[in-house]
Symmetry: C2
Subunit: 284 residues, 2 copies
Amino acid sequence: MSTHGWHADASEALRVSEGFRLADVDPHGTPGYDGDKLRGHQDLATRVHDLDELQERLWAASRAGKTQDAVLLVLQAMDSAGKGGIVRHVVGGVDPQGIELAAFKAPTEEERAQDFLWRVEKRLPSPGYIGVFDRSHYEDVLIGKVRSLADAAEIERRYDAINEFEARVAASGTRIVKVMLHISPDEQKERLMERLDRPDKHWKYNPGDVDERMLWPAYMDAYQTVFDRTSTDAAPWHVVPANRKWYARLAVQELLLAALQDIDPQWPAADFDVAAEKARLAAS
Amino acid sequence: MSTHGWHADASEALRVSEGFRLADVDPHGTPGYDGDKLRGHQDLATRVHDLDELQERLWAASRAGKTQDAVLLVLQAMDSAGKGGIVRHVVGGVDPQGIELAAFKAPTEEERAQDFLWRVEKRLPSPGYIGVFDRSHYEDVLIGKVRSLADAAEIERRYDAINEFEARVAASGTRIVKVMLHISPDEQKERLMERLDRPDKHWKYNPGDVDERMLWPAYMDAYQTVFDRTSTDAAPWHVVPANRKWYARLAVQELLLAALQDIDPQWPAADFDVAAEKARLAAS
């Protein structure tokens, strides 16, 4: 730990445990990390190589049939909190051949005709991959609840269904890393205003973003319920303060590293006679 | 052009035109480029930002319904020529949210029961994306021909089928960038030997690689025929000398840049009232 600015295990420092209250989290904080922004950028750049190597090891072990394990990063947040930046700057540091990315938009008519987990199940990462969900099945208990897109009994049912689903996925060898990027309403206002100020950012702005923003307290309540009901041992939640983008990226990188270190993938041994192949190659 | 080491348009310098002979290409060469390895690494790092921005513009224009265009990079090569390095170091410089990657292995039984283009069609990039084919439908006229996996009449039919298919894809707005990474047999021997020398690379080695290596002249013949038959105006081939990895990466980056510059995607104008939204946001 001495080579970087973390003084605590990010997985522990950010984990949602018994008694967690979202309202107590400072979106401007940097839990577990002592460094400043410059140090944070340096650590991000250094650790990206560790992440890349661990993913390659996982991929190699998977190809050799040595593991069925995978990692699934679930990203949830209010708009402009920085999901895209995590994908670009953290996930983007890993070989694209090892990534499976799924962005979940409002469900299509076909998807709405199925159980809410149907489209999610199809996008689970294959063995050896890091899967990333940009939004997820949690939308069905967040906007689903805030906007009353389903009745109360159905929303209730979903928390348990999610826990059963995630327990099954975890048991199959997929480490589930659930992250809520937490910004303050003021920070969101600044970021949305920047999108309006810059013509090259207009395409990122959607008038619906302000409509959702008006419902901020209801969303925070819905997130609190999500944490109360679905932060399990098999798939715990992590709330990452995200007013400082550099910290949020560093923290998510650290959570992914921890998941891969938990798998501890090893380079597979050769399943052929190395000396014989050397001789055959030399003669070719 | 003064800011980097290219003295010629890579698309032109590397393009397979009438009378092209693969045997005349020096796998150690750096056509169109004057710089050395250090300069090459610098140029790669600089230009990656251009590539990333052009892709984001394409994505934005596509989301706004302003374009149906996409880019498709088709990578073909003998084993160890560096396809993986291209994906990691060139494609990996672009936001993963803008990439659709497809690696084509030996076809499954289900795939073999269909026309050879069936599985390829399904993996064409969506509008706004850079698609990457790691191997492709060309395997069906390369290993397919060398190993006689189909009869001669069927192989003949495929060249025309490929041209018709690619012309249709190009007409729909997808810029097709076809690249053969060209290494020498000696370079391949060194690279395969390195895989055998390093336990952390054993997983990349496959004894079948040496079997294919024994058929080098037959593969070069098959590639020559591919170039003669399928380098069209709609989808020309480029042969990229690849003994120097840094050059091959730089060259493919340049080909992708040219394709995106040809599309010339623009940031879409706001489809909402910017002033009204600013007022609404400020009041929220």
